[in-house]
């Protein structure tokens, strides 16, 4: 249970990190909360580690009206407390335990690309991007959209020699709500299945756009646009105007209006059809498929309700 030996590099700025990565093709060490367990269990044995923990410029959280850019050294807990993006903040509370969130980084979680991890789904549902850099006589950058970034289980688009310098989470449109619903064996464990939803409503609280991303039910986050299934649906409880805050946060299982229940259920079925869950020791494929349907409906309703409540704001 001890990590194998490696050559250690501790660059102090991004340029030095990129030059080192170009030379040694080592692994990047960020928070270490996924890499060090793998090394302790001898499932990974990198010859060179390039530790980015001393590169202060990578700790920036940059919020603009367009969205929030999170540097590669921003820890889960820093991003959570900064509250820079509502869906990111919500998802971070579901990631591991406080002590792990104090070290693990947002960008590290994206690069690690665990199919059950929450943050890749957040980036995917928002159509965010990851900025990668490498050294080619000078720093060369490329911006990779989420749908190209997640390649397979534990596989992202980061090439050997590349450093992920930041990730960009686009801001929500007006009158938009979000939700992240998941089922895990114990709080803080990786989820058996999870769904995050982003729903936009119009001035009359009718759904105009709805997207979900699912975790744990495919090799990469499964993004499904369900606007076709639930577009135009009246958000239950929102018809009275802006005073829906009382209902916000509760899970409405009754389907307050017939058409709405039909719309959400149809959307949930559409989501189930897009997923390819697998069986493992934690849950069967059939159970995961069941979960993803229930969670999709719940997440869509809660996101819609939050969007409707935001109309007054």
């Amino acid at each position: 249970m001890k990590p194998p030996p490696f050559a250690y590099h501790a660059p102090r700025d991004v340029g030095a990190a990129l030059r080192t990565l170009a030379q040694v093709r080592g692994k990047v060490l960020a928070g270490g909360q996924s890499l060090i367990p793998l090394m302790n269990m001898r499932l990974a044995a990198p010859e060179h580690l390039v530790d980015i923990n001393r590169i202060g410029s990578l700790s920036a959280i940059d919020a603009t009206p367009a969205g929030v850019r999170v540097g590669a050294l921003v820890r889960h807990s820093d991003a959570e407390h900064a509250g820079a993006h509502p869906l990111l903040t919500r998802a971070l509370k579901l990631v591991a335990h406080p002590a792990i969130r104090n070290r693990g980084t947002v960008v590290g979680s994206l690069v690690h690309a665990d199919p059950a991890a929450e943050l890749p789904a957040v980036l995917a549902v928002l159509d965010g991007t990851v900025r990668l850099a490498r050294w080619d006589g000078r720093a060369v950058e490329r911006e990779v959209p989420a749908r190209e970034f997640f390649v397979g289980p534990l596989e992202s688009a980061v090439e050997p020699g590349e450093l992920a310098v930041s990730a960009f989470f686009p801001a929500l449109a007006p009158r938009t709500g979000t939700a992240f619903e998941e089922v895990a064996r114990r709080h803080g464990d990786y989820a058996l299945a999870g769904v995050c939803a982003v729903v936009t409503v119009d001035g009359d609280a009718r759904v105009t756009a709805a997207r979900v991303a699912c975790v744990g039910v495919g090799p990469v986050p499964v993004v499904v646009d369900v606007t076709g299934a639930c577009g135009g649906v009246d958000v239950p409880g929102a018809s009275g105007g802006a005073d829906v805050t009382g209902a916000f946060g509760e899970v409405d299982m009754t389907g307050a209006s017939g058409s709405a229940a039909g719309g959400w259920a149809e959307a949930a079925r559409a989501v189930q059809e897009e997923t390819e869950p697998e069986s493992d020791v934690h849950a069967s494929a059939a159970y995961r498929r069941h979960l993803v349907g229930v969670l999709a409906e719940r997440a869509l309703r809660n996101a819609a309700r939050e969007g409707a409540a935001a109309r007054g704001a």
């Binding site: 909360q33 002590a99 792990i100 104090n102």
Partner: protein, 195 residues
């Protein structure tokens, strides 16, 4: 290759030579002789090895000592110095102070700033664990004490749910957690009385 690093451990500056692969948990235990930090799973799940890094709880088994060169670390041995006026209860279980057996017979580095010589009072969190029977075998206790110390600093009057969430990353095989939750409430009371 060895790296010379400087860690400020429980207020004392310690300089050590370590290979890059030395886990912070092993650096504390083997290089610095501070065996109060326990090691259970070495992959981040059990929480026994939790220490405070610049005041925030982290897994010392998922941190390389070289990475935290120059930073401040508080282990269970250092919690007492954060405590308030001396009171009794010195005998309240060695795990609560971290003063466990030092792996008898093996060579032990000299410790110029040996905390035991100072005989500090237990911290309010340590006293609460002793009072409420928040420990049995004590293996998990150092991790709980560090976690709870930081938790109560951020949230001085937590609800039951918040406590359960706060300690969710620490496993205990003995107590069934009920007395640990009680101890956290009691520690919050003691801290409130003393400030």
């Amino acid at each position: 290759m060895e790296h010379e690093i400087t860690l400020v451990v429980n207020g004392a500056t310690r300089r050590v030579n370590v290979p890059a692969r030395r886990l912070l948990s092993d650096c504390l235990r083997h290089d610095l002789g501070l065996t109060g930090t326990h090691v259970g799973c070495e992959h981040g799940v059990c929480g026994c090895c939790t220490v405070l890094l610049d005041g925030r709880p982290v897994r010392s088994c998922l941190t390389f000592a070289v990475t935290v060169d120059g930073q401040e670390i508080t282990t269970v041995e250092g919690l007492a110095r954060e405590g308030a006026p001396p009171r009794g209860l010195r005998s309240a279980g060695s795990a609560a102070t971290g003063a466990t057996g030092e792996g008898g017979g093996t060579e032990r580095p000299s410790r110029p700033h040996d905390v035991e010589e100072v005989k500090p009072a237990l911290s309010p969190v340590q006293r609460a664990f002793a009072e409420c029977h928040g420990l049995q075998c004590g293996f998990c206790t150092p991790g709980f004490l560090c976690t709870v110390t930081a938790f109560l600093r951020d949230n001085p009057a937590p609800s039951d749910d918040e406590i359960v969430e706060g300690i969710s990353g620490n496993l205990c095989r003995c107590t069934g957690y009920q007395n640990i939750v009680k101890a956290v409430h009691r520690a919050a009371e003691l801290l409130a009385e003393e400030t």
